[in-house]
Structures are given as C-alpha cells and as structure tokens.
C-alpha cells in the first residue's frame, strides 16, 4: 500500500504526553498503524526512516538548539506539519518562565547562566511554518483520531473554537465560576469535553483563548470575586501566555 500517508511522530522539549495521547487510542492503535505508513516514531520504534513525510505530528516547544535543528529538518521533509499539543502551540508551562524574573533563577543554576545552552522558550511556529494546531495539554485522544480521519478523507480540518462552557453545561456540571473558583472556561476554546471541570477542577485555559475572549472584562469579573489581578494574570499566562492577543497582558 504505497499510497498510504507517510507519517512521522516526533517530540522536542516536552513531557511525551502528547505522543502518548496518540498511543492512548488503545482500541484504534493497531488500525491506525495499518491505515498510516508510520515511517518514524522514535518514541516507540528503533526503525525510523526520515526520507519524506506527508504528515508530521510534532510535540514539544523549542528550548534547546537541538529542537530548532530537528524542527527545521522535519519541516523540510514534510508536506503537512502539525503542532501537537500546547507546548508546540504556545510554549505551555515551560514558557511561563518568561514572566518570572531571570534574577530569581540565577541562584538556582548549577552552572553560570551564560554557560547554559539555552534557547528562548518558544512555540514551534516562531521557527517554522505550521499547517495545523491540535491544542491541549495533552490533546484529547479522539481529537487526534478525528484530525487524521479528516485528513485521510481529504476534508478540511476545522478546529473547535467555542468555549469550554458549551460541553461543560451539556455535561450537567455545576458552574465552578458560580462556586467561586477562578475557572477560565468561558474564555478558553473547548473541544476537550470540559474534562477538567467534569473531574471537579477549574479550567486553566490550556487549549488557548477563544476568538472573542474579552480578557479585560474577564479580569474585572474575577477581581469582583475577590481574586487579585496578579493571581488572575498568573493563571491566564500559565499555559498560553505567549499567545494571548491583548498586549497589556503579555508584557
């Protein structure tokens, strides 16, 4: 079956959770590997061919020189590059350090700061062209499947842009905002089935802001519930800070 999609799954700096989420489609895993010609997936196989791909799923953010090299190399070999998960999409929690004072890290380094081979923590689209983004920390397993199916059927992938609250209400959860929790569901893209709120935990915004998110109003709303501005900004920046569109929030 030479007409099968040639696929690569790679990771740069990250936690491997997004690559695991591909594998956590337990019932579909073997079918997936039959439908796709998985040429490279170094996390699960020692036989990796890097000649050319139709599709590469890339987990992780850029935080080391090696990340940039691998990313550029893979980009040059694939027709479609997907940012898989929040690290690739926004830099996620590792990029949150940009909001903390560098001086606070100095005493924590083993070696002198200037000796560290460190790269500004950045999402992958700061370095290469990205064709699609599947957000989430980690992305939903079914969403990865759904993306691959859409591609194989030759259809256009349309990311979910409605807020987390749509599924949350449908699932019959009590509104955590009403219960006094700093839930970011109303300004965050859903597509996760509100999994965290289903589990009793407020949304931290890992899938990125909705198109019409009004951060200013939302900050005021949370301040009205007694949260400090500093705390609210910390929460909003934790997962997706680098991609918040309102400039006064990203200073």
């Amino acid at each position: 079956m030479s007409d099968r999609f040639k696929v690569g799954v790679y990771g740069i700096t990250g936690c491997a959770g997004c690559q695991l989420s591909v594998a956590f489609n337990e019932d579909e895993l073997l079918t997936l590997f039959e439908l796709l010609d998985v040429q490279a997936f170094p996390f699960v196989t020692s036989a990796n061919k890097e000649e050319g791909f139709d599709l590469v799923l890339m987990e992780g953010l850029v935080a080391a020189p090696r990340d940039i090299e691998l990313l550029k190399d893979v980009r040059s070999k694939t027709r479609i590059l997907v940012a898989l998960g929040t690290c690739a999409a926004t830099g996620c929690i590792p990029a949150y350090r940009k909001y903390t004072l560098p001086a606070e890290y100095q005493h924590l380094f083993y070696t002198k700061a200037e000796d560290i081979q460190d790269v500004d923590p950045t999402p992958i689209d700061a370095h290469v062209k990205v064709d699609y983004t599947i957000p989430g920390c980690p992305p939903s397993e079914w969403e990865i499947l759904s993306f691959i199916k859409t591609l194989l059927l030759g259809k256009e992938w349309r990311p979910y842009r409605s807020p987390v609250c749509v599924a949350c209400r449908r699932n019959g959860n009590f509104c955590l905002l009403d219960l006094g929790k700093p839930c970011l569901g109303p300004i965050t893209c859903g597509g996760c089935n509100a999994v965290c709120v289903n589990g009793g935990f407020e949304c931290w915004g890992c899938r990125g802001q909705t198109n019409d998110a009004n951060h200013k109003a939302y900050i005021e709303l949370l301040e009205g519930k007694g949260f400090s501005r500093e705390f609210i900004l910390e929460r909003m920046r934790t997962f997706v800070g680098l991609k918040i569109t309102e400039p006064e929030l990203v200073q």
Partner: protein, 425 residues
C-alpha cells in the same frame, strides 16, 4: 593502539531525548557519557511564588508518562508541610490511582519498549503480526490502567481530581465494580506477562548497586514509609543528609548520588526490598524466576516490573472489594509556614518533591528529584562495566546491547531534565 567510539545519536524507545557517547581504547573505557538533550524547563523556578494548591497542576507537566506520580508527590509534599492527614478513603483512592499508573506504565514499557529487543523486532507494532496475543494483552492492560486513572483522577494524563487534602470528585461504587471485574478478567494476561518475563534470556551482567526504595511495615510501599536499602534506612524528611545532586556541564539533567556512591531505584529495588509483602501470586513468580535468590543484574528490572504488574492487579482488587467511596468535602486547611517532603514510588523509581511554604501558602523553594536523575550514574557505571564484555562485536551489536541495558531501567529523560539546584539554608 586502537581507538573506538560508540555513539548513539538518539536513543529510541525511551521517554525523552538522550544521547550516549563512549570512547574506549584497547578495550578500556576512557569516556562514557549519557546525556539528556532536552531543553531545560525550570519547573522548580516556575513554582516560585505559586500557591501550594497549584503545584500539582504545574508539576504534572514534568512528565506525561508518570504524571500521577508527580501529582501525588506534589500533594504529599504540601500536606507534609501543612501537617494535613488525608482520610482513609483518600489514602485508598490515591493507592488505586498509583496502581493504575503502575499497570499502564509497566505494561507499556514491558511490551512496547523492552520485549521487541528480546524477540528481534524494532517495535511492538512490527511485532503485532507475529505476536498478536502478546500485543493484544499489552494494549488491554494499558487500557485498563488508563481507565483506572481516568475513573479516579478525572483524566488519563495530568489528572485533576486529586488535590491537597482529598479529592474534588470521587468515583462511584459501581464504577469501581466495573473496574474490578476487568481486573479479574485481565489477571491471566498479567500472569502470562510474568511467565514470559521470567523466561527471557537476559544477558549475564552484574553490578553491585545499592537498591533503594520506600518500605512500609504494613504494606507493599508505594507512597508511604521510610527509605530503605539493605544497609540503610532513613525518614523521607532527612533525604538531604543522604542524597546529593550535581550536574555535569552541557547536560540538562541532574545526577544524584548517595554519599558519593551509585544507587538504583525502580521495580527491581522495590521487589527485592519488599518482596515478602507482594500478593501470593506475585510472590510465586518472584520465587520461581531469575529473582529467586536476589539479583544484581539491572536487566532484571524487567522481571521485577512484570512481578509488580501481577501484584498491582491483585492489590487493586483487594482495595476495590472494601472501598465504597462517598463524596467527602476537601477539608479547610490552616495555612502556615513550613517545609514538606513527598516521597513516592513512581513506576520507574522513587520520586521526591520538596517545598518550602511561606505564611500565606506560597512556595519559596522547590526541589524535585526524579527516579531517572538518581539512576543516571548507575546507568553510566553499568555501561562502563558492560562495554569490555562486548569486545569483538560489531558497532551495531554494541549499541543494541547498551540500549537494551539503558531501557531496562525504564528511564524518563524528560523527567530528569529539569536542571535546577537549590541551595538549602
């Protein structure tokens, strides 16, 4: 004089990214370096000024493959600092969550990472046609472990329901009954796994590393007890007196030694230290296989993982027979200044979280020591010991033998790459 190099650019079938470089001359190892090549993620720095209740959500992102371990070690460190004693129900649910993670992690590691080396395939997927039963068992066990974590933690990765003091949401008794039926149904798959891994042809190799694990007088220790080896025992709060961290230039991972010496954490140390507390069926495989008289072969870590897999299924069933969860409000916690340590048996070994909190509950110091950071030195020492025994083999065969050795430790290079040192006052 003949110089020879072995360089594995990117180790495959391990968690995270690492390279191995070895130079040896006339059979003598002159240089050996196992390097994590991940970018630094500065988690301990990111935790500064955050409230203790936020720490588990942040630190779970250290690792996707042992996220439960980071969540629970983080919660435990905060509770230790605040003097919080979780309820019996909370303690039982935490053990179940842990067992779910051990089941999925061991099943995945044994079948997807370790077994292909022994049967001559590059991956479990490539094995699937010839080893359909085994791969099917692996996936069924992986799914069962994931479903236990999903049911109790709210998500299969970066679980959300566990928090400092208790659970935000508890599973129903019916959900636990459903999981228990599946545990009983899959017991034969776990038993077959232990039989298989008791019978594989492990390379002859010996390394006298000190085996450390938690030990609890009352049960097979996963998240309670003291730290113990054959010759030493100490309380988790005292770990600074025993363990020291250091870093080599140009490497983002921490190395950890105990009083300057190599030691090992993981399944093999746990099973050898606490074997008499395993379930009767798990003990049967301990007594009938390569571990019967103890072992100083790190490759036997795979045997120990398979034994723990049997024990994990039995242990989870025992808990589910008794446990009828009821919603419990998370107690109000009196915030105070303090220092707390969490010590937790992740699938790949003892994981440490330590936080210092100020009077408002915000973190002023954080330290995380991962299992792989502790095993890095042991892995390097093993490579030095093993290389001379591989003389005469081709470069590919040598790399394959060394990779198999490293994989046996079930390393997690993402975890180990957190790159921070804390100066304790």
């Amino acid at each position: 004089m003949s110089h020879d190099y072995v360089h594995a650019e990117e180790l495959t079938k391990v968690e995270g990214h690492a390279t191995l470089t070895v130079r040896f001359t006339n059979g003598r190892v002159e240089h050996c370096e196992l390097r994590a090549v991940e970018g630094s993620r500065y988690f301990e720095g990111i935790l500064l000024h955050r409230h203790y209740v936020e720490a588990s959500e942040i630190t779970s992102r250290i690792c996707g493959i042992c996220s439960v371990a980071h969540v629970l070690a983080s919660i435990q460190a905060a509770e230790n600092a605040l003097g919080v004693q979780p309820s019996e129900q909370t303690a039982a649910l935490r053990v179940l969550l842990t067992l779910g993670e051990h089941i999925r992690s061991h099943a995945a590691h044994l079948y997807f990472f370790a077994l292909p080396d022994y049967v001559g395939f590059p991956s479990a997927i490539a094995m699937a046609a010839d080893y359909r039963t085994e791969v099917g068992q692996a996936i069924a066990l992986l799914k069962l472990g994931n479903d236990i974590v999903r049911t109790i933690g709210g998500r299969d990765m970066h679980v959300v329901s566990a928090t400092v003091g208790g659970f935000l949401k508890v599973p129903t008794a019916e959900q636990l009954d459903g999981l228990r039926a599946r545990l009983e149904q899959l017991k034969p798959a776990a038993v077959a796994t232990a039989e298989l891994f008791n019978s594989l042809p492990y390379p002859e190799f010996h390394h006298q590393a000190e085996h450390f694990s938690l030990h609890d007088d009352h049960k097979y220790a996963l998240l309670s007890g003291r730290i113990r080896s054959a010759g030493h025992e100490f309380a988790k709060e005292d770990y600074h007196r025993f363990l020291s961290e250091y870093q080599t230039p140009d490497n983002t991972a921490n190395f950890v030694v105990r009083e300057g010496h190599t030691y090992m954490v993981g399944s093999l140390p746990r099973v050898l230290n606490n074997g008499d507390q395993l379930s009767p069926d798990a003990k049967r495989f301990l007594k009938a296989g390569p571990l019967a008289k103890g072992s100083d072969n790190p490759l036997h870590n795979n045997v120990a993982q398979a034994i723990e897999l049997v024990d994990a299924l039995d242990h989870a069933v025992r808990i589910m027979e008794e446990l009828r969860p009821k919603p419990e409000p998370v107690p109000n916690i009196a915030v105070r200044e303090g220092r707390g340590v969490g010590a937790f048996e992740a699938p790949r070994g003892t994981l440490w979280h330590e936080y210092v909190l100020d009077g408002t509950g915000h973190i002023t110091r954080a330290n995380v020591i991962t299992p792989t950071a502790q095993n890095l030195r042991a892995m390097e020492d093993d490579i030095r010991l093993m290389l001379p025994t591989l003389e005469g083999q081709s470069r590919e065969e040598m790399v394959a033998a060394l990779e198999r050795l490293i994989r046996a430790y079930d390393p997690c290079f993402s975890c180990s790459a957190h790159f921070l040192r804390v100066t304790w006052l």
